[in-house]
Subunit: 299 residues, 2 copies
Amino acid sequence: MNILVVGSIALDSVETPWGSANDSPGGSALYFSSAASFFAPVNVVGVVGTDFDFKAVDFLRQRSVNFDGIDQQEGLTFRWGGRYHMDLNQRDTLFTDLNVFENFNPKIPEFYRNSDLVFLANIDPDLQMQVLRQIPRPKLVILDTMNFWITGKRKSLDEVIGQTDVLILNDEEARMLTDTGNLITAGRRILERGPKFLIIKKGEHGAVLLHDNSYFSAPAYPLEKVVDPTGAGDSFAGGFVGYIAHTGKIDEPTMRRAIIYGSTVASFNVEDFSFRRLVSLNRKEMEARVDDFSRITVY
Amino acid sequence: MNILVVGSIALDSVETPWGSANDSPGGSALYFSSAASFFAPVNVVGVVGTDFDFKAVDFLRQRSVNFDGIDQQEGLTFRWGGRYHMDLNQRDTLFTDLNVFENFNPKIPEFYRNSDLVFLANIDPDLQMQVLRQIPRPKLVILDTMNFWITGKRKSLDEVIGQTDVLILNDEEARMLTDTGNLITAGRRILERGPKFLIIKKGEHGAVLLHDNSYFSAPAYPLEKVVDPTGAGDSFAGGFVGYIAHTGKIDEPTMRRAIIYGSTVASFNVEDFSFRRLVSLNRKEMEARVDDFSRITVY
């Protein structure tokens, strides 16, 4: 199976207590691709400015990531700046310069339209719907979103959630979307709104998968040193969708294993700035950590 | 193996959005005993007033809980009143009347002194040390504490932690005790201070066990309706220590399974006020939920 991802492409400037990185390639589409491309071919749709240096992401081309759907527009690439503190769960946004991303108008190239798995990264739900209208029904639509759209574009978001097979949220978003405190109840309610599968990410507490009456809980990998949490969610999604594409199976047991692969890739991603660690990572290291995961929950 | 528990005995008045209960038997020693007595004989040390009605805890006697170490003093039993809100993680204490508990002076009866497993429930660390000084070194000392003693009696607490084999904390307390944000780092540092095993409870996110270089993560049971969270921690400890006593084995693999039993008993306990649910609970129901647990993490 191959994968279509539609999302942001950015140049990130990040400060943490352990250092900083300026104008490093980032954005949901690139973090996702860096992870998913370990497993399957990825077709990217996004927008960059004339300042974007494709050499910085050349390793992705070598991993069967197709950039032909990236629109290069006159102007500057989307830039985001943020600062993390010792408590990595809190971050300050220092600046958000949308630049060419402000008028992002995703167009799916003809040769991308039969992608099997479609990951709609966290962008305006109106644009997410615009993507779905351009393509035949894929085998699986996976959706990410955030609190900004839950409060600001609820009607559009509900529409795209209704077209979604796998919804990925964090715990705060799941509670916000259903206005309920109990995470299990929140999850059950979301499953009544369209998605057949719901993944709730809980940061250092791992992730859970809800589907019909089944419930799966995955631990987080016990990392003592997180250098840069940027892109953790998108690299998780990339590992998750990539693993499904690799197996070619769309069922609950496969998704359980896919969550372990997503968690594994995300745990490597946060060990360095940008997606540097995913450039150097090899499959042997990845499989070793997947094995570690199985030892964490066995009893 | 048999068990000694030293802790509070209280009459609790609890209000929740789903109802209330007045002057119900509670306190760490009774919650612990209600859980542990499913697995092994329990010897209780505590103090009550002349108003305490032992008939309310007669079911414990039938489960081999020995109350001969309970000191009945002139005066009133310790009373605690609390109110929970829709977000059950927050509670308001309405009143705390220590009464006879104020001068609790735990004396371990001669016939209790060779208890194999000693659970020091959350009381003043000076009293916890006083207990340990009265008895020969047990096979296993399990300690609970709280933020109040971490900030208020740190020196005494550090002393008793140095004598502890298994320390049970929640995530906030683990971070507070080590002044560090990363829970794994916090855990490793605590293991350098004496305890061979550390359990960090994370409420709806489950619990983790740290020991040498091993790491175990247990999910929480996915409960949609929690009626009264009072006693969750002590019934967890009761199930945990009880299971170890039952198996007679003190090693890491046994403790992993003991955490699943502790989590199971605690998940029943919060389904009703006081420990009512642990009165009606039978082993068949418990084992069915233990089986459910194994399906939550398998992949």
